[in-house]
């Protein structure tokens, strides 16, 4: 009977995800060529226009074109989210690797204790507390993210390490006199790479969602820099008058996160390296 296939055609899923992601990244990177209007120039005559052919996503309370602002804003949001994810992936993987390699030793116990203790904070609550105490803004939001976002990576890399560290190749390397550092970097790290990469694509998506939620409540980036989060919190007051302001940004967020989820799912189903729990 064999193992049941989770997904019939993972290649198609991955391709679709990469396609959407590339479209979004290109349109945000070349925003100055694509965007029809300036993202900061105010035009009071055209304020709060609903979507039409000139303004694809309507205009905001200052008459600025929402579509152009979303394109420009995407740069900042995507770069911030990507940076946070990369840092947390590296940090979490390294700590998990060390904890797994020295399983049961003091280092492992300390790292796992920190994990246990940070897991007790619901992320959104922790982020709210930090941004409220240290001041709102993208940097503080990223600090709040950095405190907890490495945990899933640490857990994943620890369990992968535990799974492989008793394998014959690794024992052989040890007998041949390889140092712990060499074994960790040359033997174990490559095995962690693909599950960590898949987890990172999922986490990048959920990071963008969390950032947008926190910004929506006024805890993220500050206006006037166009950034998806700050645009969301600006548009909140006009929601019942002009729901399209929020819908426009959400469409972009949706497609970005969707593409990342598709890539992650496709890769997981294709490679199936290790069970990845993305809760």
């Amino acid at each position: 009977m064999g193992r049941l296939k989770v997904n019939k055609n993972p290649n198609l899923t991955i391709f679709l995800g990469i396609f959407i992601l590339i479209m979004i990244v290109i349109s945000c990177t070349f925003a100055n060529a694509i965007a029809p209007f300036s993202p900061i120039e105010q035009n009071p005559v055209d304020r709060l226009k609903s979507p039409n052919l000139t303004h694809l996503m309507g205009t905001d309370q200052f008459g600025r074109d929402v579509f152009s602002r979303v394109l420009y804003g995407g740069r900042r949001t995507l770069v911030a989210a990507l940076l946070a994810t990369v840092v947390n992936t590296l940090l979490g993987t390294a700590l998990g690797l060390i904890a797994g390699y020295y399983h049961g030793k003091l280092v492992d116990r300390i790292i796992m204790r920190i994990v246990d203790c940070l897991v007790a904070f619901p992320f959104i609550v922790l982020a709210m507390i930090i941004t409220s105490l240290f001041g709102t803004g993208l940097v503080h939001l990223l600090i709040a993210i950095a405190i907890v976002w490495w945990i899933p990576f640490a857990r994943l890399s620890r369990s992968v390490t535990l799974k492989y560290k008793e394998e014959p190749e690794i024992l052989a390397a040890k007998v041949a006199g390889a140092s712990d550092v060499i074994i960790m970097i040359r033997e174990l790290l490559p095995r962690i790479f693909s599950p960590a990469f898949i987890l990172a694509t999922f986490k990048l998506g959920s990071l963008i969602l969390s950032m947008s939620a926190l910004s929506f409540f006024g805890l993220g980036a500050k206006p006037p820099t166009p950034e998806w989060g700050s645009m969301l919190s600006d548009s909140k007051a006009y929601f019942f008058q002009a729901p399209y302001l929020i819908i426009g940004i959400c469409i972009f967020i949706f497609f970005t996160v969707l593409s990342l989820n598709l890539i992650g799912e496709g890769l997981r189903d294709k490679l199936d390296p290790f069970e990845i729990i993305e809760i």
Binding site: K5, V125, M128, F134, I246, L258
Partner: protein
């Protein structure tokens, strides 16, 4: 002492340590924050409109009263002692004890989250199992599409759209600040639905894995009824599902902040968010403490559940034979 009792004791001790450490982290974060709490409490000398001498004296007096010149560990112990006497400090804005302010809003939150958790678990486990049993059929594809779609949209966006649809377009939902059953259904259902996809996905993959194992194949080959095979597989994935259900309930509690604010449901989540925007630190601290306790309690319940379900831990220790 049986193995079970031993495990229970060690779990309790571990939980106690985690609780202490987590509250210590919370305490340190709050103490690292810039700004002098006494100045916030008193206002700056100009605002307080008293002469400098009196202000300085009062300032010193309060600093001593709040133990602000002691080391952080001493302060933590003092705070913990107060917490154990159910004293979480007073709100800066209403001057009411934080615990009373939180307690007043707790029923509304429970009314919202408990049915939401039930909806989430029913959807998560139910759809996850259906999806696994009908894998790669139309219904499975629909469920997976639903999951991908929901987990790619921000929760607040879904809530706002539903609010707009029900309140503005259909006029079925009343926008106000009161607690009533007529205002409960929309936030509860929304919260339950938006937090279900992760659970559905994990239940599905666990179930698929179990159904692909050799014992299932053997059972089918032997002619065991389909229903019995499914029941057997379900029993085996109960433990992982319990953990995941607990994790996702924790996520749901975090998500309730968003839902409460959008639907202006007067629970503790909305209160905490409002207090954050008003910089009412004691309330923020109290809320953080409460959340940590809830999360740790949920995790403890799951761990204890594990111990009670696991049959290997039933017998007294000495009779256990591992292997041959």
């Amino acid at each position: 002492m049986s193995l079970r009792n031993k495990s229970i004791v060690s779990k309790l001790v571990e939980t106690g340590v985690t609780l202490l450490l987590a509250t210590l982290v919370l305490f340190i974060i709050i103490n690292l924050a810039p700004g002098d709490p006494i100045r916030i409490l008193l206002g700056t000398p100009e605002v307080a409109s008293v002469n400098n001498q009196v202000y300085q004296e009062k300032y010193q007096e309060l600093r001593e009263a709040y133990h602000l010149d002691d080391s952080i560990l001493v302060q933590y112990v003092a705070w913990m002692k107060n917490v154990l006497r159910f004293n979480l400090g007073d709100s800066f804005y209403t001057n009411q004890p934080v615990i009373i302010e939180l307690g007043k809003r707790m029923p509304a939150t429970l009314l919202l989250t408990i049915p939401a958790i039930i909806i989430q678990l029913t959807l998560g486990i139910g759809l996850g199992i259906i999806s696994a049993l009908k894998h790669n059929k139309t219904i499975d594809n629909l469920i997976r599409l639903f999951c991908v779609f929901l987990s790619s949209l921000p929760g607040f966006a879904i809530s706002l759209m539903l609010l707009y649809l029900f309140a503005v377009r259909l006029k079925l939902y009343e926008i106000s600040h009161t607690v009533s059953l007529m205002r409960l259904y929309l936030p509860t259902i929304t919260l339950g639905i938006i937090s279900s996809p992760a659970l559905i996905r994990v239940v599905r993959s666990n179930m698929l894995e179990e159904l692909g194992k050799q014992y299932t194949a053997f059972a089918i080959a032997r002619g065991v009824k389909k229903r019995a095979v499914i029941r057997g597989a379900l029993k085996n994935i109960m433990l992982p599902i319990m953990t995941l259900a607990a994790h996702s309930s924790v996520n749901l509690i975090g998500g309730s902040v968003i839902i409460e604010s959008i639907f202006s449901w007067p629970g503790i989540g909305k209160y905490a968010l409002d207090s954050i925007l008003l910089r009412d630190y004691p309330v923020v601290q109290g809320y953080g403490f409460l959340m940590i306790c809830i999360v740790i309690a949920i995790n403890l319940l799951v761990e204890l559940g594990y111990i009670f379900i696991d049959p290997r831990l039933k017998r007294p220790e000495r009779k256990i034979r591992w292997g041959g």
